[in-house]
Symmetry: C2
Subunit: 347 residues, 2 copies
DNA sequence: CTGAAAGCGCTTACAG
DNA sequence: CTGAAAGCGCTTACAG
């Protein structure tokens, strides 16, 4: 009987070395594509590895100082088309480069971010793509202290020391609100995201700027803070609709918020867009399928995911790559949830 | 200056051992929760580990024969609500158990499954959850040969040696078609999934059984093979609608196929459900949002994902766990895409 | 209850 | 162009 150690079934570089009567160093060199190996040796090693069905042990490689070829992707959760689309595009790009994806969902780890990040950096990933709010700077501190390669998607690093891939949040919001203004709306409300998030702040700023630029006053009671999730959108929507001077249009800072607002509108027995116009942000996959289809600001999530991945790959090649900021343009998609305000005047 | 070796920044069990003047064996024992450690020693180790911010190096642990605490999830792709929901529920359950999720998307790896599976088993995962078609048995062969723990979701192992979590595909299809028959439909077509998939075969069998049980003949031209993706549904829909004796109802073997069929229906200028009824299968997140909302067979994907994860955890505890088959009930969800057939007779 | 030692599979200077 | 040796950080028998 063969030895029955647990891993004995797998063949290692020792098997290849023995078979060919060369040293493991040589095998390792060939397998890692180093130069200074005699062409004939290289060929024999490669051929034997193939014949024996050799597969590198990732943890050993990684432990010994090599790469694990695993990239960590940190997201709040994944059952949401926004995140799954981003993750999916990252995965595509990673696959092309022969890298694997380790998924870190943070939704249960709030409050213990430090430990979480440390786990990650001690973990088996070569680099990280963060699609999470950078609320606490500790994330980045630890990452930077370890000189750990990472790229942030759709959130800003307050210290400006990170590679970031983002979209034109301010401009997108500005365009959306301008669209409503041009339709004739004057009472335009806004349900924001969490104000701790840079994208929320930018979108709110875009909203305000559009109003101001068109000579429309900003009313505090028309601005309600949400959190980018549907339930808060619903709550905010109810408050807005109960206002004495009900807004004729609501700009929701993201689509899920808009969905919540729409639910509130239906509950109030109102029609979209006859009674009230709704505009979202993101253009997630459900947006074309709401009733009526949602006017929203398209964010090129797929491009963003791909760009972030490519950026990370450059970081891996060149650790001293300077911080880079890539911003993709958003685009207003006009569908059926926005139209002219109702005629009946309420001021 | 400190040593500048790459990993020198991380603290190891040696640091803890030195600090406490005990051996690394002891530290390791404590960290792994083994018994036979003096309570006071245990406490000191734990406290020091905490104080030093110790984080275990997963690859070292795994290499040395311990666990990596990483579970691999193999899916075709993830930008589809079916898969993202399954993955999400797996992730939830994994998080509870303190395990991480490594995502293996196969969409680019077709044709090289063997190598892929070997990579996975040599990789750093403790176990695998397969949400992919088990087209070639080589997957399972390799897994079984390595005694590698795995669970299959929604696909059958022809050899019956695997743990499988599934749903009542046959019954679900039977219910869906019975629903159409009871509405008065006689000409009911079916767009199947790939016939290499067990779920496709079961759903088709359910379709046929329902027709037969209700004394309705099965017409070969009413059955078209699809592949569970939207474009094929669209193509199949066009063929069906072009038939001289156009069906009055179409049972699509999954929702994405149904979406494709609906697109074809619109293109033909027909109305759903006035001219033709459509029923899907899965109840993915878009199903309630189509126009009209899609009648479909709900598959409890979340429960399935959770059950599969729990099953895998038992397998990890007890490697000799016998093959288990868990089947969840499906449920017909009647929405607005199905109604009585049109009055005008075409027979 | 605890320690010394070997080994997991690989990479990487260091010598030739 | 190639080999011997140390080491990555941990676990696990084997001895006490």
């Amino acid at each position: 009987m063969d030895a029955n150690r647990r891993k004995s079934q797998n063949i290692t570089i020792y098997d290849i070395a023995k078979e060919l009567d060369v040293s493991v160093s040589t095998v390792s060199r060939v397998l890692n594509g180093f130069e200074y190996v005699k062409e004939s040796t290289r060929r024999r090693v490669l051929e034997t590895a193939e014949r024996l069905g050799y597969v590198a042990n990732v943890q050993a490689r990684s432990l010994a100082g090599g790469r694990s070829n695993i990239i960590g992707v940190v997201v709040p959760r994944i059952n949401n088309s926004y995140f799954s689309l981003v993750v999916s595009s990252i995965d595509d790009e990673l696959t092309k480069a022969g890298l694997n994806l380790l998924l870190y969902t943070t939704h249960r780890h709030t409050g213990n971010e430090d430990h979480y990040v440390r786990t990650i950096t001690t973990g088996m990933t070569d680099g990280l793509i963060l699609v999470v709010p950078i609320a606490s700077a500790s994330y980045l501190n630890i990452l930077q202290k370890h000189q750990f390669p990472y790229v942030i998607i759709d959130h800003h690093d307050p210290t400006d020391k990170s590679c970031v891939v983002s979209a034109t949040n301010w401009q997108g919001a500005y365009d959306a609100v301008t669209h409503l203004l041009e339709l004739g709306h004057q009472r335009i409300a806004c349900v924001t995201g969490l104000m701790t998030l840079s994208s929320s702040r930018e979108r709110l700023a875009g909203y305000k700027a559009a109003l101001t630029d068109h000579g429309t006053a900003i009313h505090a009671e028309y601005i309600i803070e949400g959190d980018y999730w549907e339930p808060q959108g619903y709550e905010a929507g109810k408050k807005l609709l109960a206002l004495p001077k009900r807004p004729t249009a609501i700009f929701a800072a993201n689509d899920f918020t808009a969905f919540g607002v729409m639910r509130a509108v239906w509950e109030f027995g109102l029609s979209i867009p006859q009674d009230i116009s709704i505009v979202g942000f993101d253009d997630v996959s459900q947006a074309p399928f709401t009733r009526p289809p949602l006017t929203t600001v398209h964010q090129p999530l797929e491009q963003m995911g791909r760009a972030a991945t490519k950026l990370l790959l450059s970081l891996l090649e060149n650790p001293s790559h300077p911080p880079e900021y890539i911003e993709f343009p958003t685009q207003l998609i006009i569908r059926e949830s926005s139209s002219q305000p109702p005629h009946e005047s309420g001021i």
